[in-house]
């Protein structure tokens, strides 16, 4: 008998009824936090939900491993951060008229004042610096945990965070209290 290749892992990771129930509870409990984390990374509410779905769907595929992991949330965070980075890599040109009704697409939600300024400042950061800030100040992760989520060293985390904060100091959202 020939040993199956790595792809077989996915086949074997079928969830039984109990596992499905367990996963459903897990997904429901993590959903709000994942959406908010993804929103911090993307600034787009709907994109955030899509990315959160992607992260949980991948967790579903590997549920046996995820559920036994010491920190399933770390696994989810890593998938989500990667998904947010790779979201726009495909390119397609499709500019053709369609049969849309005469309606307006709503603009961004009512993010005004401080929140809007903070989001704007965050999105002037490169993706990795933005992720470091979000993971530190929203998720309250340590350097090591952030490094695990981003697939880099703790030293890189510290340098990225330092650069990100230097840029954020220029933002009106954090201008008050600035000692520079």
């Amino acid at each position: 008998m020939t040993e199956p290749r790595d792809e077989l892992t996915a086949v074997a990771d079928v969830i039984d009824a109990d596992g499905r129930e367990e996963f459903s509870a897990f997904a429901a409990s993590r959903w709000p936090g994942l959406v908010r984390l993804a929103f911090g990374l993307t600034g787009d509410r709907w994109l955030a939900e899509d990315i959160a779905q992607t992260a949980l769907a991948r967790a579903y595929v590997a549920w046996r491993r995820v559920s036994r992991a010491d920190d399933p949330d770390a696994y989810l965070r890593r998938i989500l951060v990667n998904a947010s980075h790779h979201r726009f890599r495909r390119h397609r040109v499709t500019e053709q008229p369609g049969d849309l009704p005469e309606i307006l697409v709503e603009g961004p939600a009512d993010l005004v004042g401080e929140r809007a300024a903070l989001l704007a400042a965050l999105h002037q950061l490169p993706p990795r610096q933005r992720a470091v800030v979000i993971l530190r100040y929203w998720e309250d992760l340590t350097d090591a945990q952030i490094a695990a989520a981003l697939g880099c060293s703790p030293g890189t985390v510290r340098s990225q965070l330092s650069r990100a904060l230097a840029k954020l100091r220029q933002s009106p959202a954090l201008g008050e209290g600035d000692d520079q």
Binding site: M1, T2, P4, E7, L8, A10, V11, D13, V14, D16, A17, D18, R20, W31, P32, V35, R36, L37, G43, D44, R45, W46, L47, E49, D50, A52, Q53, L56, A57, R58, Y60, V61, R87, F88, R92, T94, E95, Q96, G98, D99, P101, E102, I103, V105, E106, P108, L111, E114, L118, L119, V133, I134, Y137, W138, L165, R169, L174, E176, G177, D179
Partner: protein, 383 residues
């Protein structure tokens, strides 16, 4: 950074992100999406196993009803009339596996093996290939399968002692030598292709529809979606169903990949900042079977909002598919033929919602309508 700055940034960030009210967790949509990912991986893995010649697994006859599967009858070497591969009764419900054309009338023939004349698996001559399917809550604990074998193979053996004869059926001018059967999802049994030459039996793998605790029949995964041992997902056709541009200039595009993985739809959004996409697979129906209404929600990168793409495989009698939206406006869906089958698709930008679908014939008369439309994934509806 000073401690004051640190606190200020944390406070501001928490205030900002806490103000985002997530929608209810779409657990079912997440699971369907996970299944789609796994379905693709399963195809690759099963192909590997088939090549490796690993022992087969399947189980005949649900709930102890061994022998419930009946092969179609025909003289040796002849083609079974009507394309019926096997039929029987499972949990009191009749079932039938048939080889038939699933293209709309008047278009190039598309051969497939169907279960009860609906859920279809496009098929091509390929000895030593097989597929399994289950119907979920409508027939829990029961799976159905078929195995294509070489013309000189008379039967397959299940669980070492149950022989399932292979018959020859025809569809679209092609012949297929197939053994079909029903099996219990609560048991795992061995399938062997009997080699008439009397040498060592040939064995190969069928994928499991689902795994479950020993002795416990569960609702199978992917209801109506066949899982094939072949990896030839490209045997089907693909096509663009609808496309357009949002008022803010972002493009969108709904496409279909039709094949042995099911009817797989994808909604793509494009902008100057890049692309995003969402996709699901649904069961393949026959022209007279139920229509699958697929919903594909997607966020668009530029506008900070989203839209839901809808795609429907429609019956040949449908001339117009009218979508009524929550603001009272309506959209006439774009029709497109893919592999001789008619599909309709359209986009509903947020915050609008699809509230009703109406099928109209060529004279503009309503054939059917439904308000049971999904926001994620698919539902099936028989017009």
């Amino acid at each position: 950074m000073t401690a004051t700055e640190d606190r200020e940034l944390r406070r501001a960030l928490h205030g900002t992100l806490q103000s985002v009210p997530p929608s209810p967790a779409p657990v079912e949509a997440i699971i369907r999406r996970g299944k789609r990912i796994r379905l693709r991986r399963t195809g690759a893995a099963v192909g590997t196993l088939a090549l490796a010649g690993i022992a087969a697994v399947a189980a005949l006859a649900p709930h102890g009803a061994a022998g419930a599967a009946s092969p179609a009858l025909a003289a040796p070497g002849s083609v079974v009339p009507g394309g019926v591969i096997a039929h029987g009764t499972a949990d009191g419900q009749p079932w039938r596996l048939t080889a038939q054309n699933i293209a709309d009338p008047g278009y190039a023939c598309v051969p497939a093996i169907t279960l009860n004349g609906t859920d279809a698996d496009p098929v091509f001559p390929n000895a030593d290939s097989g597929a399994v399917v289950a119907l979920g809550s409508s027939l829990p604990g029961v799976g159905f399968g078929f195995v294509q074998v070489a013309a000189d193979v008379n039967a397959i053996t299940v669980d070492g002692d149950v022989s399932v004869p292979a018959v020859t059926v025809a569809a679209c001018g092609m012949r297929y030598h197939v053994a079909g059967f029903a099996y219990s999802l609560a048991k795992t049994l061995r399938v062997t292709v009997v080699n008439p030459s009397g040498t060592w039996p040939r064995v190969f793998t069928l994928p499991l529809v689902s795994a479950q605790p020993s002795g416990k029949a569960t609702t199978p995964e992917n209801p109506g979606l066949w899982i094939n041992t072949s990896t030839a997902l490209a045997t089907g056709d693909s096509g663009a169903l609808a496309w357009g541009t949002l008022p803010d200039g972002q493009g969108w595009f709904i496409k279909l990949q039709f094949g042995i993985g099911g009817d797989c739809y994808e909604l793509d959004g494009s902008s100057s900042h890049g692309n995003t996409q969402m996709g699901y697979c649904g069961p393949i129906s026959t022209p007279d079977g139920p229509e699958t209404i697929m919903a594909l929600p997607l966020g668009f990168p530029d506008s900070g909002t989203g839209a839901t793409g809808y795609a429907v495989q429609v019956s040949p009698a449908t001339a117009v598919l009218k979508a009524t939206l929550s603001n009272g406006s309506s959209v006439m869906a774009t029709f497109c033929l893919v592999d001789g089958r008619k599909y309709a698709a359209f986009l509903v930008p947020n915050p609008l919602r699809l509230t009703k679908l109406t099928w109209l014939d060529a004279r503009g008369r309503a054939i059917a309508s439904t308000t049971a439309v999904p926001r994620y994934g698919y539902v099936q509806f028989q017009p």
